[in-house]
Every structure is written in structure tokens, then in C-alpha cells.
Amino acid sequence: MTESTRMTGADAVLRSLEAEGVDVMFGLPGGAILPLYDAIARGTTVRHVLARHEQGAGHMAEGYARASGRPGVALATSGPGATNLVTPIADAWMDSTPLVCITGQVRSTLIGTDAFQECDITGITMPIVKHSWLVQDVKEIPAVLKAAFHIATTGRSGPVLVDIPRDIQEAELEFSYPDEVDLPGWRPPSKVHPLQIREAARVVALAEKPVLYVGGGTLNGDACEELLHLAEVGRLPVITTLMAKGAFPESHELHFGWPGMHGPKWSNLAMNTCDVLVAIGARFDDRVTGKLAAFAPGATVVHLDIDPAEIGKLRTADVPVVGPLKKALTELASEIEQHRADGVPAPEAWLRKIVEWRGEFPLRYDRSDELKPQTVIEKLQALTAGDDTIFTTGVGQHQMWAMQYIVSERPRTFITSGGLGTMGYGIPAAIGAKAARPEATVVCVDGDGCFQMTQQELATAVLENLPIVVVVVNNGYLGMVQQWQDMFFAERRSQVHLTHQVPDYAMLAQAYGALGLTVESEDELGPALEEALACGRTAVVDCRVAQSEQCFPMIPAGAAALDMVEYGESVEAK
């Protein structure tokens, strides 16, 4: 416990953040949070990054959290400031990103009176936070913040919200930061049941066609090294979901792509014809499974997760293992190593089969005179291979191409909105990632639709000296919606045309003080990307790509995973 000092609630918030080791927070001031911003002006060791919209601040905090593994912190005022944080909170909830949101609230005496900029943000966010607090006494502030950070980061990580009325920020307390949390109802699993591990190891070691289906929980649980060890000792093929991209080195001989709607055919073949499916921090999302009843039929499911509620939520687990993945994977690896040492053979024939499928059904697209979006990502990959680069994305076709063509070798280098599918995530998440890892080059692969949702944060990137490179895969359309309309709505394009020309992204970038480049052909692509990556300041590369390119393979929504449509096939043929 720190020595007690008299101070205001606002100062106590900052002293608490400092005690938690927070180095950056992202926010935007307003009326109900003025005392906290006044305390910031009076001094804190925590850097404040001024966003242009609270949604941007929230996604920045998420990007920071995903790049660093530490909780992101976002600040906003009451009412609209707080509601603008709802999207990032929902996003963090779906992807289990540790996020601590601090919002100002109207004075205690005004709560419930429909006061100016009053809204019940703890009520609004109740279904999408792990926990929230409306602070009712200034003396609660240190314990509430201690609990907020503890809950955000322990068990299955996720967002929390602390709502502090203005008068409570102004009131005084004797501040001392607690060493312990007092949360009798919060006991996330800390151990793994040895019998379950033994059973899981037996099933996995004896499998002829095992697959490790690795989800984002592996990154959140800091279990990537343990995963690598497990895969190597067992000779087990690894398939990483979008959220787990980078959790396992993608050039490794045991990595076999990404599952689901736009995953390669070889990955989905492996997932769906395996005899033992080992789900590791993964949640059987519909974008992974396709039609659930037809997903991996007949496979024995071993499900490892820190969250007991994920076990059996969608697919019955034959062998459930609840607990921290770092521990679970370590113990599983050591048991499997023993089985292998005892002569239980590794699934070499199965590995050869998946390699064969990979050769038989590669990712492909046709080159033409037009610049193809896939070419943009391939070039970007070629230019950044081996460098310390973090990629973020928006949501849509460009995101799926980024998944397919970016080779992620290290954890926390591919940052994307998976569960909520939040368009506009890419630019602010990139800024947050840059704040977390200034030494890395941060590249946002964005779509033109996504770009226009959060482009104002280019000002933040430029003025806060958090340079990012935004590569706009500009097809002039809300591309993924267009693809669905073309494939499933008889090509009736409805309200999806954004145009290549408006806005002029390069000029817009220049208006923000960033480097702006336009690419209209494959010849211009390499030099423009090289210039942007080397310039050392924020850059936007507008890549005007083919307008009607579709993303394949694709499992139509609700279809069985094995009924995927490949490049050049029509959906009717299925």
C-alpha cells in the first residue's frame, strides 16, 4: 500500500493509472471529465494521445493492447463521448481485448434527471463489459481502478468501464493504492485438472489425423511459445483463426493456414476431415465453422479454454480442459512428448496429406491489366518480410486478403477486428499499436469504406508523432457487401458504390500533413509502397484496384465448410 496523500478524485485516477504502470492513454475531453483533464494538465507520467473521435480513442486503446499485451486505456466524457466508446467496447468484448474505459458522468445530484450530456453508460454497456462501476464515493476510486485493471486482464481478458461523476472527480480523498483486490466473486481458473490433461494427451497423441485449431485466446493467454513447443513435440498441424494470426510462425512447416469462410481449401479440408480437433482458446465462431452441424463431423473434440462458458457452448467437447492455456499447453506437450517417446507415432501421413492438398488447391487469382487487390497485399508482404512490422486491418475483403497473403511470423503483429467486424478499426488500431511499439513499422491495410469511417485519426497520427502507413485497397466499393450482392442477390448492387475518385485519398492525406500517394497500376505499386514505408512519417497509399474482384475461397454463410466456392467457380455450381 502506498503512503496516503490528500488529493482530488481526478488526481487519484491518474495516480492509480501510474501505479498500474500505464504509459499511454487515449481520449478526448468534454464537460463531465474536465476535472480529470485538468489533473492531466497539472501533471502525470502517463502520456495522453488526443484522438479526434472517442471511437478512435477506443480502437487506439485496443490496438495498443493487442500490440503490447497490456490493457489499453481510453478516456471520454459523459453522454455522446461515452456512447462513442460503445463500438470499441463491443469490439473488445467480442475479441477479448483487455480495455479499461474511464468516462466522466454528470454530477451525482443530476444523475437520473436527464441532465445535459447525461446517459446511463453503465446500463448501455452492461451486456458488453466484464464489469463496470459507477463510482459513488470518491474514496472508492483507488480500489475500483485496482479491480478494473485486475478484471480486464485476468481470466478471459476483456473490457471494463469506470464511470465517474464530475463532483466525485472534484472531491478529495486520502489516496493510497491498494496492493490487493477485494473481489470474492472473481476467481478465474488458475489451475488445470491433471486428469483432463492426461486424457487430452492420450486422445491427441493417438490421433491419426489431429488438427490444432488455434484461436485468439492463445495470444491473450500468452501461450504462443507453449503452442510452438506442443506442435513440435507432437508433430501436430496448426491452423490459426483470424484472431490467432501470428500466434504460430506462418512459415513453419506445421502451419497450415486459417480456417473458415475465406480460409484456403487445404485448411478447411484439414479442419473438417480431422479425427481429433484440438480447439485452443477458440470459440467455434460461425465464420470458422460454417454450418455447425456439418463442421468437422465425427471428430473427437478436445477443447482447452480459460473460460468454462466456452466449453460446450456450440460444440460438445469430448475432452474439456479449463484453465490458463500457458499451463495447459505446457502440461499437454509434456504428456504428448512422453507418448511419442513411448513409441506412439506422429501423424506423418496426415501431415503429408495436408501438404498435398496445399499443392493441389493453392490460393489463386488471375492477373489482368487492372491492379488486383491481392497483388497489392502480396507486394506489401514482399517489401516487409523479415522486418519488424505490425499490420492492422479494417473489415471486409481487404482484411481477408491480408489474412491470406500476409505472412505473420510473430505474436501480436496482425491486429484486426474479428468478432464484431468493426469497419474503421484499422487506422486507430494502427495508431495505438505504434504507441505501444514505436520501434515497429505499423501498416494499416484498409478498405476505402473503412478508411472513411475513421480517417480523421490521421490528424492524431500526424500531430502525436505516431507515424503509420495506410495502404488503401481502394476498389471504389463496399467490396464485401458488393461481393455478397453479386453472389447471393443476383448481382443487384444496392448502395455499395463509393467511387475510386471521391475522396482523393492522396490529397486528403496531404491535407492532414501526411504523405499521400496514388497507385493506378502494378508498375507504380512497388515504388509507392517503398516510399511510404521508408518516409518515416504518416503515409497513405491509395491503391486503385479492380472494382469487381471477389475474395475466394468462400464458404457461403450457413453452408457446410466443405461446400466452399473456389476462385473462378460460380456459387450456383454448388
Binding site: 453503465t122 446500463g123 452492461m126 451486456p127 466484464k130 464489469h131 463496470s132 459507477l134 459513488q136 478484471i151 481470466g155 473481489l183 470474492p184 466473486g185 472473481w186 476467481r187 481458473p189 489451475k191 488445470v192 485438472h193 483432463q196 473460460d307 468454462p308 462458458a309 466449453i311 460446450g312 457452448k313 479449463v322 484453465g323
Partner: protein, 170 residues
């Protein structure tokens, strides 16, 4: 199938709202809900009656258990728990029918607690099934108003406790 879930929660602002929000969000229906204090100060008990499959019940229990203010989640297994409910019933009762009504109620353990010119208010505490029978017996007389508290319950010390506690999993 119907299940009774007993949830011990810290008596903190929003604890009930978090549980009811979780039910609404995950698409589970609550048949009845009763909240009250327990033997421990600062701890309330929420008794929920839900109609769902076994699979959903497990999901409900796990999701409730994840809530920060929740201390314990127990399913009250039929036969291993006592369950009680309170009913208040206002029934039309002309002078010539009163004796019959009061006698019927008394036979089931009910008690008249207010007498008016045209109506009687009965209270009855019992198992939900007993309350159902009383309700049916009173119906022909003309029920003017009826309210039930929703059931509460606890495990019986007389039987070996097998009621499942989620917190014991793993």
C-alpha cells in the same frame, strides 16, 4: 424442462440487472425470480426458475458464474431441496360463500388475511404445486387479483447433497 437456480450475489449496485441482462442477451427466459437477503450480511440470494434444456442450463450457470458479483451458483435439484412460494389471492366472496372458501383455504394451509364486503384476501405459503391447486380451487369463485412471489428454496439437510455447484468444475 424447468430448473431452479439459486444464485448468491454480493449486494452491490447492478448485481440483479447484470443477471437479468445476461438472460435477455443470451435469449434465456425467466419464469420467476425472487431476491432477498441471506444469513450473510452483504450477500443476497436470487432464485431463478427457468425453462430450458440441460445444455442451456449449463450455459446459463456458466455465464452467471462469470459475473463478477456472483459468489455461488447452485441448481436446486428436485427432491433434494425444499422450495416454497407465497401467494396472495383476492377472491370474490359473497356472504353465503365465505364459509366454504375459508374452509377450503384452511384445508390447504391458507389463511384469510383481509375481509371485505365482496371479497377476501387469502395468503398461502407452500410448494408451487400446492399454490397451483389452491389457485384452481379458487378460480370458480372468481379471482379478482392474484400475485405470487416466485419460488425460493434451499437444499435439504436430510438428503445427501448432490446439487451441482459450477464453481466445483475444474
Amino acid at each position: 424442462m424447468k430448473h431452479t437456480i439459486s444464485v448468491q450475489v454480493e449486494d452491490k449496485p447492478g448485481a440483479l440487472a447484470r443477471i437479468s441482462t445476461m438472460f435477455a442477451r443470451r435469449g434465456f427466459n425467466i419464469d420467476s425470480l425472487a431476491v432477498g437477503p441471506t444469513e450473510r450480511s452483504g450477500v443476497s440470494c436470487i432464485t431463478l426458475r427457468v425453462d430450458c434444456e440441460q445444455h442451456s442450463l449449463e450455459q446459463i450457470e456458466k455465464q452467471i458464474h462469470k459475473l463478477v458479483n456472483v459468489l455461488r451458483v447452485t441448481e436446486l435439484v428436485p427432491g433434494e431441496a425444499v422450495e416454497r412460494e407465497l401467494l396472495l389471492l383476492k377472491v370474490a366472496a359473497a356472504a353465503d360463500r365465505r364459509a366454504e372458501l375459508v374452509a377450503t383455504a384452511a384445508a390447504l394451509g391458507g389463511r384469510a388475511i383481509d375481509l371485505g364486503q365482496e371479497a377476501i384476501v387469502f395468503e398461502l405459503t407452500g410448494t408451487p404445486e400446492e399454490l397451483d391447486s389452491f389457485q384452481e380451487l379458487a378460480r370458480p369463485h372468481g379471482i379478482q387479483e392474484l400475485i405470487r412471489t416466485g419460488r425460493i428454496g434451499m437444499s435439504r439437510p436430510s438428503t445427501r447433497r448432490t446439487s451441482r455447484r459450477l464453481s466445483a468444475i475444474n
